[in-house]
Amino acid sequence: MTGQSSAPVRPLIRIQRVRKSFGDNLVLRDVSLNVAPGEVVVIAGRSGSGKSTLLRCINNLETIDAGSIYTGDELIGYRQLGGKLVPMREAEVARQRQELGMVFQQFNLFPHLSVLDNITAAPIHVRGEARSSAEAYGRELLSRVGLPEKAHAYPKQLSGGQQQRVAIARALAMRPRAMLFDEPTSALDPEMISEVLDVMIDLSRQGMTMIVVTHEMGFARAAADRVILMHQGEIVENAPPEEFFTAPKSEATKQFLSKILP
């Protein structure tokens, strides 16, 4: 969203004191984060610091142990029932997930479906859209990610960069309110990274709300409104890119930057 006024904007994603552990391993320690509509937030941090878990919690692919997550006014995963919070039914959870698009490190395209079928599967079978309109929009998205000629190819026939661009198109086909990217370029050969980042930068210019876990600091400089550093399950830095790179406050960020920047 461009032209934000000085009036406080209602966050599109609100994460409040979220705690999550796997067994004894406390992975998220009371994490709080607001993301405004149209904002692009980059999350960096060492492997194992809880970045993927945070993204997965936002989309309810993992359940949280404490705290709450909202998209818009809607509480993720729970509903009020007689003054108490109870876990949602499967169909409601599935409906909420439609609001958020997700892109994975390993692409996770459906190997048995053509590129176009990958993109239209959810619009047709989940949202009940007509095949013709789903395919028309699917082709439009394929053009947007620069692969208009690959509609009938299969994932195995594409390069990693092309697969990831299809995965982005597939997520966009559900017309999500925000996009979550989990290290979208980490599994790619170096020469393919920029073709994916370019698509993401485009998307951010069109006003898409994005949370991007990545170590591509070039992308953070070019597209991020804020950069966050996660360290041992906590957000230890949360600042605009200039400040993040030039005047980091936390020791963990300084260490991170000294490793990642030449």
């Binding site: 459906f110 989940v126 299969y154 997520a171």
Partner: protein
């Protein structure tokens, strides 16, 4: 009494033996279809997060895989009447074979589903699919490729295993042979013919199985199956029938 060619040839074209063979075929098909349905449900139940549900499926699989089919058939046909449950020969045979098959197929199905990459679940869920949609659209079509070869072998096994139903007097191929043998005592000729019938059925199935497998053996790249089949050098299905 030596080998008699005329008797052998007579048995070979005997309508009685042919009827028995036909019974073997339909008994196997019907039992297989019911068994697959049962096994499908049992596999999904076994993978449920609900302990009771998965416990029930686990118990079924454990019990039926851990006891001989012969014992199961006799219990169903001869034992259950003691509890007032009287099933006819055909019902007993189908029930015994199908429930037994279901226990084996459940494990095949489960391994097929678990063979699908975990990331496929994540992607399907993230797109807003319910468990049912995810299974239908994403997981089962991929699991099918893993399931088809062992499933073909199960049917091959079923054609032969169905002969056990002869002990509860089901008139399938083996039972037909037994009865002919009792009339004329041409034991060797009769059972030789039965063996040939079985071999004909399993060999015919081997061809069908090979075609089905080559269809599912395609890489996920949209090429036609002929190209994929031509790429393959050794065909495991072809040697399967001979090796059993």
């Amino acid at each position: 009494m030596t080998w008699s060619w005329p008797d052998f040839l007579e048995y070979l074209v005997s309508p009685y033996m042919m009827r028995g063979a036909w019974t073997t075929v339909w008994l196997s098909v019907v039992s297989m279809v019911i068994g697959i349905s049962l096994g499908f449900v049992a596999a999904l139940m076994k993978m449920s997060h609900n302990r009771v549900v998965s416990g029930i499926a686990g118990f079924y699989i454990w019990l039926w895989r851990g006891t001989p089919l012969l014992v199961q058939l006799v219990i169903i046909y001869a034992g259950l009447p003691q509890l007032g449950i009287r099933l006819g020969v055909i019902e007993s045979a189908i029930l015994g074979l199908a429930v037994n098959e279901g226990a084996y197929f459940a494990e095949i199905m489960r391994s097929g589903i678990t063979a699908v990459d975990k990331g496929q679940h994540d992607a399907a869920r993230a797109l807003g699919m319910t468990y049912r949609k995810m299974m239908q659209i994403v997981i089962l079509p991929q699991a099918t490729r893993v399931i088809v070869p062992p499933l073909g072998n199960q049917f091959l096994g079923m054609l032969k295993t169905s002969s056990l139903a002869s002990v509860i007097s089901m008139e399938e191929l083996l039972r037909s042979a037994q009865q002919l043998a009792q009339i004329e005592f041409r034991v060797l000729e009769v059972y030789f013919v039965a063996a040939i019938y079985y071999l004909a059925m399993t060999t015919a199935w081997g061809f069908v199985q090979r075609r089905i497998e080559s269809h599912y053996d395609r890489p996920f790249d949209g090429r036609d199956s002929a190209a994929a089949a031509a790429q393959r050098t050794v065909d495991p299905a072809a040697t399967e029938v001979i090796s059993r």
